[in-house]
Symmetry: C2
Subunit: 124 residues, 2 copies
């Protein structure tokens, strides 16, 4: 019945939606668990790789570097390395990355409000 082909993945539809839904577009860039968190830590200024590592203890190095690279490729963060011998690499928000600050700020604000509300309510 339904003339739905098994071979055509929904990924194609997603691509289609990408062109229409601005939120989808944004999620393609900052979606995933870690990216917003990294952006949050970079929103207060440029940080060294090791600083980020310490700021986000739960992240693995693989994830950290992977997402930094991805966001660098997406033009959200800028990487600067100084060719000194204990390597010195810093990351900071690009122009586009700075533009995400309102998103991060809105998230922070919402979390604050929600968490505050939780204390006013009973657990169950």
């Amino acid at each position: 019945m339904a003339a739905v082909k098994a071979s055509s993945t929904i990924q194609e539809n997603k691509h289609y939606a990408l062109g229409l839904c601005p939120v989808t577009y944004t999620m393609e860039k900052i979606g995933g668990y870690w990216k917003p968190i990294i952006l949050y830590h970079l929103s207060s200024g440029s940080k060294r790789y090791s600083e980020l590592k310490r700021a986000i203890p739960a992240i693995t190095e693989k994830m950290l570097i992977q997402h930094l690279r991805q966001m660098e490729a997406d033009g959200l963060v800028l990487r600067e390395s100084r060719p000194v011998v204990p390597p010195y690499v810093t990351y900071r928000l690009s122009q586009a990355g700075q533009g995400l600050k309102p998103v991060i700020r809105a998230m922070t604000a919402w979390a604050g409000k929600e968490r505050a509300g939780e204390f006013g309510k009973k657990k169950k």
Copy 2:
């Protein structure tokens, strides 16, 4: 070396981070691919289930209902069903859900700005 047990997942650390990082908290609630998209469509007002389905053609029914349920449980959306015979169910943002509008709006604004910029630049 680190006495890290293979059995103890990093989820515990995540839980720890949850208490500290407001962005993490927010991502726990609206993270994932579809939730922000659904919220975006609900931000313009209450919608029927089938309206949402049509508004987001790429989503599967399983994902749609699953995330609606999750967000209902999280107190972000409200479900209202009328016991008529072609079922009539509507979803809308709760008070807390309304509070996410700035986040959605910021995402929308950013996407608009970025996409506009793409036309000004050359492909490569």
